[in-house]
């Protein structure tokens, strides 16, 4: 495990990698789901501080986790999007589905 995830008092913080593609998406999915399935996550935060590249595989991993959270009634937040990530969020429509925030 690469340790993308940080778990603290009901909040799951996912540190998104520098380059988020299909290869990385699988690793994040596995690690995050382990926690979402076993702990009571109230807030899920995707942190993009380090992220410089993301393709549509990243969209898949975000939508997938958000769907899981909506079943159990939690909040999903994306934070620290740089300009490129903002663009990806707009092009993909994610900006209408996920709350954005700057930490």
């Amino acid at each position: 495990m690469e340790n993308y995830c940080e778990w603290k008092e009901g909040c799951l913080l996912v540190h998104m990698p520098k380059e988020l593609d299909h290869h990385q998406a699988g690793l994040i999915r596995a690690e995050a789901d382990l926690i979402i399935d076993t702990c009571r996550v109230q807030t899920l935060v995707f942190d993009f501080k380090k992220t410089e590249f993301m393709d549509s595989s990243g969209i898949g991993v975000i939508i997938g986790r958000s769907r899981k959270m909506s079943y159990q009634g939690g909040r999903v937040v994306a934070q620290n999007l740089n300009q490129r990530m903002e663009k990806i969020f707009v092009v993909s429509g994610l900006h209408k589905m996920i709350e954005k925030e700057n930490s």
């Binding site: 299909h22 393709d55 898949g60």
Partner: protein, 149 residues
């Protein structure tokens, strides 16, 4: 800088090669002095097409993906080719959100991303024979996606 220059890259259909393919293309187009955003656009499109070849085109990671890239004037042309399963209905496959692999959490946005970030995208495919994606982008021309907001 306006002379034609081209390269052809062939590599194993392994997901770890997605990053390699992007980096190679980014290095190759540097002679056009692209903006950071243009480089990111091209890398994203390459990533989509290469990922598709790896996960939809093939089952076996020892099969080969072929990528070509040429630059001429201010334009970049790319092809990404696999000799894998092919696509029955290309028009349908290109619809946003259409995916045959929801269990892999594919978003169905791959072709939509290629179209958003490149100027022109064409797909030819024949079932059982494979798929070729051809893409073109003129650098130095702001595109719709850049003024999306």
């Amino acid at each position: 800088m306006t002379q034609r220059n081209e390269m052809r890259l062939e590599f194993d259909a392994r997901s770890m090669n997605e990053g390699f393919a992007r980096t190679a293309v980014a290095a190759f187009i540097m002679e056009l002095n692209p903006t950071l955003d243009e480089v990111a656009d091209v890398k994203t499109a390459v990533s989509e097409a290469v990922t598709n070849a790896i996960i939809h085109g093939y089952d076996n990671p020892q099969e080969k993906v072929v990528l070509t890239c040429s630059v001429e004037g201010t334009a970049v042309e790319l092809t990404v080719e696999d000799r894998g399963k092919g696509i029955e209905d290309v028009a349908r496959a290109m619809e946003p959100f259409y995916t045959t692999r929801p269990e892999l959490e594919r978003s169905g946005m791959g072709f939509a991303f290629m179209e958003a970030f490149m100027d022109d995208v064409r797909v030819t495919s024949s079932p059982g024979k494979g798929t070729t994606v051809w893409m073109r982008k003129n650098l130095g021309n702001p595109k719709v996606a850049d003024t999306y907001e």
